[in-house]
Amino acid sequence: MAAQDNQKVITNNKIPVFHKKTKLTATYILIVVIAFYILSAIFTEAYPDRIITGLPIVLGFVINDFFPPNLGYYARVTPALIETWNMALLATTLSAIFALPLSFLAASNINKNKVFYQFIRIFLNVIRTIPELILAVLLVAFMGIGAISGIGALFIFSLGILAKLISETIESIDPNPLEAIRATGANVFQVIRYGVIPQVLPQYSSYVLYVLEINVRASVILGFVGAGGVGIILRQQMSLFNYANVSTIILMTFIAVTIIDFVSSRVRERLL
């Protein structure tokens, strides 16, 4: 067969590297993405020249204001950071616990009841959508001022993220073992416990740590509503234009983030 085919192929001079259809789809996607970008850019006046003229100002901040950090300020930051950490830890723990059942309900391959499934997804969308700041304001209105409101805001917010991410992981697991376990006469809880959980555990723990980091950073915003932690002093020092102190706060947040990142990558390595 080869000889003839060779001939045919070689005489045909125009062989595209990409199939016409592939090319067309890729082009369409590119056009849509760019068109939206241009629209947004016009709308937001996001023209590159402006950032080029603004660049010296950005650098000025780094060189003149943030550097050098006032390291002596750490004594004030530490307790605040611990407070922030505590709120993040508790909120993450709660959301890690509650996200699990929710995400099973939000996974189409586990929850076969279409209506209930959609309801859960919409519910998750709603809680994920509310900006954390507004969430905090609302919770303060509900529950009064204090760490509880802050933790509550972080909890609700991270519950939405976690449940969504985990439910997507659940939806993409290997369905075959589930079938096998179902065939042994196991009930749905047993199928989840022995079929699903072992498969999602690594992703689950990696997402939980990811959310922990998000929560540590989000509590900065909660300072705006008096929910305590590093947010309050960050805002205070910003308002006083004490950038050397702000710089210290950022530096210490950086250390916290790096530690979480390190732990998270070690855990991932272990579990995968």
Partner: protein, 300 residues
């Protein structure tokens, strides 16, 4: 205390300039500086009980008067505004007294006018306590140790700085006498009283109005037991490196609002200003003095 204003016709009159920019849609008006657009940052003061989230009417009016497009952006926090004024990206800023004092240090801004509210160019902070509280006056507060004191945050002029200064002057040791409860907003301070978390709160006069939607009986539940000394009202400032002509022009434009019913109505709507008065940096010395007392503590 209203300054004489120029009329609309005068300001919209095109003035020839040598460096009229190509980009300028309309003529600029000074020899010293070419301004093709005025950018105005607008911070709704926490001390006002009613704020509009739009400044469109103000934008339009100023565009008309100043002859260049004016663009205003509403923001919550003054840090961005001040930094923008420092780098020349923002021309006009509405700043609260404390913000102005900070901005003058950081960005060398210059105050042009200040607000008149209810006929005054200053306001006061109030001490609020539950209606059934034993506290009847500021003296009672100073004489009762261990009270839980709710306030918005330590940088709030009326929420903390002025009352704290007053209390300190009256002999209370701020570090030991109270147990402070920082709640993030004036409304929250009032809320803390309603919820029984605090013994008294300090807010602007009268923060209880904000809560009336949630608690129609808030004024019966909470009583005002005292006021601070007057705090100068919030300012309208411009960046320091603006040419004097433009400063003058902007100042006059705003002062002219005093003669313009419609604009005063607008100003009232967006910022509860019912008049505009000329202001000088010295008017804010009292704020500076109070701030200086706390500066050391706050910075560390």
């Amino acid at each position: 205390a209203c300054g004489a204003g120029t009329t609309d016709e005068e300001t919209t009159d095109p003035v020839e300039t040598e460096e009229a920019g190509e980009a300028a849609p309309e003529e600029t008006a000074t020899e010293g500086e070419e301004i093709t657009e005025i950018r105005m940052g607008f911070i709704p003061s926490q001390e006002a009980d009613k704020i509009a989230d739009t400044v469109k009417p103000l934008e339009e009016k100023l565009t008309e008067i100043l002859g260049v497009p004016v663009r205003a952006e509403v923001m919550i926090d003054f840090v961005g505004l001040v930094e923008g004024m420092r780098t020349g990206q923002i021309d006009i800023g509405f700043l609260n007294p404390f913000g102005f004092v900070q901005a003058e240090n950081r960005a060398n801004v210059e105050v042009l006018v200040k607000a008149i509210r209810r006929g005054e160019d200053s306001y006061v902070a109030q001490y609020v306590a539950p209606a059934d509280s034993e506290l009847e006056s500021i003296e009672d507060i100073v004489n009762t140790p261990g009270l839980v004191w709710a306030y918005a945050d330590t940088l709030s002029t009326s929420g903390y700085l002025f009352p704290a200064s007053q209390l300190a002057d009256m002999g209370a040791d701020l570090t030991t006498h109270f147990s402070p409860l920082v709640v993030g907003g004036h409304d929250n301070a009032i809320l803390a009283l309603i919820d029984g978390q605090a013994d008294f709160a300090t807010t602007f006069d009268d923060a209880r109005d904000v809560l009336e939607g949630d608690y129609p009986d808030v004024k019966e539940r909470l009583k005002v037991i005292g006021y601070t000394e007057p705090i100068p009202n919030d300012t309208l400032s411009v960046r320091g490196d603006m040419s004097d002509e433009w400063k003058q022009k902007i100042k006059e434009a705003f002062l002219a609002f005093n003669d313009d019913e419609e604009m005063i109505a607008v100003m009232n709507e967006v910022y509860t200003w019912d008049g505009i008065a000329e202001a000088a940096s010295a008017d804010y010395d009292v704020v500076r003095a109070v701030f200086e007392k706390f500066e050391e503590d706050l910075a560390n």
